[in-house]
């Protein structure tokens, strides 16, 4: 059992009391004066003192009661001052190990370690704080133990520098970044402050001067753009300073950050999808961004872990590099090239043009309505002049949209301003969803989404083939399902072979392996589950649990052969499941059935 770094007590106490004391002091001193100056002030000081002591005491207790241990197969964390928690995280389930250090932490030489597993909204393992060396040790130990190498005599995995951000590229990243948060804040502040300011200052409003207002709007727009650009530049430089991506054995490791240093590892076999992102500017100069998605990151824990721009899951992303380098890295990691895309049918260009024109029409109508009620004339017909732009935009959107079925990947591409090309390995597909809105039906197209277990998908959108022919969509849907199955079995076979080759023995059937709780078999099953959360998790332990269950499992295996037949038969003859076929089922008959008999009987066919 290992403790946290003793320095963490001090750091945590200072960190926590700083905010609490500040708030307390603020309230006490502002509120305290109401009770009469001196006494209130003294009381506040006493209160603050008590609070500080209480916090320090709590942090000391937290430190004393926080222990972690790297056992051969799990990372155990025992923590909690009031309510105790013992948590064991199997190494194979760990998706990412992230280390972060801000300036103060770097000064005293401590670091925060976050361990993420798939699922769950929170960070599953969080060590605050350990010494930086210890953090690095945990990171490499977790990687080592995950490989099942418990003796530690295996050679250190070789390191290979995949990518390093040059100062020039960093400058370009900054130059191409816009951070709208700061102008947003200014805007919110300004919009509330403006009426107050205006009430004091008698602003001479030049009567009826549309031109002046227009100039003002443009100037404001320029200012916003400038501020957001400056903010974007600063945050990009701070975030991505010294970005390096290294391959260490079967893991990707990244480090970055000017003030706060981040350092994380992502097992390559945990990658869910890769996304290559660009915009017209980047395309013009031949640059692109790479985003990496794993199932580990909680979607909205942005602040807690201090991820900078780009949101979670983009930790190991390459902020910017030449397109060739990015695609080269994709090829390196996933073995897939940029394919030629199948675009939506050409008639869809019209759909987009119509859509944008509709937007323009609505804008025109709104302006026209405003014109009716405003004292002065405004040029409400201006949006109409943009109709040609709508047509061009429709064509552009169509051009940049498409999907491709590569050998092992589904690749989709969407967007003109923010063009995203997603690479989804077939074996990562979770479900396939095909949807057709009422508007899409008019154009005889539908949209196919390949859902993966990642989490930036929540905001970023899954790999989606938008507006493809209905027939193609149905084919794509089924193809994805088939390829998922094939890819999974191929992977499993390959892994089994490599495992057998590694062990040199035990060609026995895997079921037996698992039942005898042979270490390697169990470990492998775990590996399967951890990468691609699957049913085996429930299946294997159940089979091993009791004789009855084992018999059950055998039943299932026997049933396997007949299951297809079974399934078909049950659908129609099963007395319990309502089994009418849609094609043949006529509504009236079923309805009368319903009214007469409570117990629905399958109506055969």
């Amino acid at each position: 059992m290992t403790r946290l770094s003793p320095l963490s007590v001090l750091y945590r106490a200072v960190q926590r009391s700083a905010s609490i004391v500040f708030a307390l002091a603020f309230f006490a001193f502002t509120g305290g004066t109401a009770f009469g100056g001196f006494l209130g002030g003294l009381g506040s000081v006493a209160l603050v003192g008590v609070a500080v002591i209480a916090i320090a005491g709590y942090e000391l207790a937290y430190f004393r009661r926080f222990e972690y241990e790297l056992t051969p197969d799990t990372l155990d964390i025992r923590s909690g001052v009031f309510s105790r928690r013992n948590r064991e995280i199997p190494y194979r389930r760990i998706q990412n190990v992230d280390i972060s250090r801000n300036v103060a932490q770097r000064l005293v030489g401590i670091a925060a370690v976050n361990l993420e597993t798939a699922g769950g909204g929170e960070t599953e393992g969080s060590l605050r704080f350990v010494s930086y060396e210890e953090a690095r040790r945990i990171q490499s130990e977790v990687a080592r133990l995950k490989r099942g190498d418990t003796d530690g005599d295996a050679p250190e995995p070789e390191q290979e520098l995949l990518f390093e951000l040059t100062p020039r590229e960093l400058a370009i990243v900054g130059a191409l970044s816009f951070d709208l948060r700061l102008p947003g804040l200014v805007f919110v502040f300004g919009s509330t402050a403006f009426p107050i300011v205006a009430s004091y200052v008698d602003v001479p409003v030049p009567a009826g001067s549309v031109a002046a207002a227009g100039v003002g709007v443009v100037a404001l727009g320029l200012l916003v753009a400038l501020v957001s650009w400056a903010a974007g530049f600063a945050s990009a430089v701070v975030n991505y300073y010294g970005f390096r991506l290294t391959r260490v054995g079967d893991e990707l490791q990244y480090e970055r950050g000017l003030l706060q240093r981040y350092n994380g590892s992502i097992p390559i076999d945990k990658l869910q999808t890769l996304t290559v992102e660009d915009n017209p500017l980047k395309r013009r100069f031949g640059y692109a961004t790479l985003l990496v998605e794993t199932a580990g990151y909680a979607p909205s824990s942005d602040g807690s872990n201090g991820s900078g721009g780009g949101g979670r899951g983009s930790e190991a992303a390459i902020p910017l590099a030449t397109r060739d380098r990015v695609l080269g890295l994709v090829a390196d990691l996933e073995g897939v090239e940029e394919p030629t895309f199948e675009r939506p049918p050409t008639r869809i260009r019209r759909r987009y043009a119509v859509r944008y024109s509709l937007v323009l029409g609505v804008a025109t109508l709104a302006l026209y309505g405003a014109n009716r009620f405003l004292p002065q004339e405004i040029p409400w017909f201006v949006p109409l002049a943009l109709v040609p732009v709508a047509v061009v935009a429709g064509a552009l959107q169509w051009r940049h949209r498409g999907y491709a079925l590569a050998e092992d990947h589904l690749v989709t591409r969407n967007g003109f301003w923010k063009r995203e090309m997603r690479f989804v390995p077939y074996y990562r597909v979770q479900t396939v969803i095909e949807r057709r809105t009422i508007f899409q039906r008019r154009w005889r197209v539908s949209t196919v989404t390949a859902d993966t277990a990642g989490s930036i998908s929540l905001v970023g959108g899954d790999a989606t083939a938008v507006d493809i022919e209905v027939a193609d969509a149905a084919t794509l849907r089924e193809t994805l399902n088939d390829r998922l199955r094939e890819a999974l079995s191929a992977r499993r076979e390959a892994r089994q072979q490599s495992r057998q080759a590694a062990l040199g023995i035990r060609a026995a059937e895997p079921d037996r392996d698992a039942d005898e709780s042979g270490e390697p078999a169990v470990a492998d099953a775990e590996a399967d589950v951890s990468e691609t959360p699957e049913f085996v998790e429930e299946a294997e332990p159940a089979a091993a649990e009791s004789v009855e269950d084992a018999a059950d499992a055998e039943d299932a295996e026997v049933a396997e052969d007949t299951d297809e037949f079974d399934g078909e038969a049950e659908e129609t003859a099963d007395p319990f499941i309502w089994g009418g076929s849609v094609e043949s089922g006529d509504d009236d008959a079923t309805e009368s059935d319903d009214e007469t008999g409570d117990e629905p009987s399958g109506d055969g066919r």
Binding site: Q430, D462, L488, E538, E570, E571, W578, E591, P600
Partner: protein
Amino acid sequence: MNRLHPRIRLLWVARAVVFALVVGGVAAAATLFAPVSIPSYVPVAVGVVFLVVGVALALLRYRAWGYEVRDDSLYLQRGVLTKVNTVVPFVRVQHVDSTRGPLERLVGLASTVVYTAGSRGADVSIPGLTPEGAEDLQDRLKRLAIASEGDDAV
């Protein structure tokens, strides 16, 4: 392709009726307290429109709903305005629930819910099954999920 139990329409129609009543009630209240006089037939009309649309949607939804347990995947199709077809490969099934809500119990129905690790649209729910049917489906999906795994592991 299997259909849902017809009695699910009862549930959905009832839900639409309740919703229409609530909307009508709100409209009526708004009419009562509105500063300008609104003709008294307006809330009724609003309620009727919601009722008709809601009931029609409920009935159409029933017609559109279908599911199929295939060799290697569960296939669902549903949706009135937006048609949605979902393929859930058995290998991806994490766990299967069968649930019975209070309203469902009232009409003697149950649902089966299939969970995958997907990020969205992941939780697939099949309403309108008889309780036995839901359990049976749950059991069958479970077995198929295990079998598909075993199949691949060999």
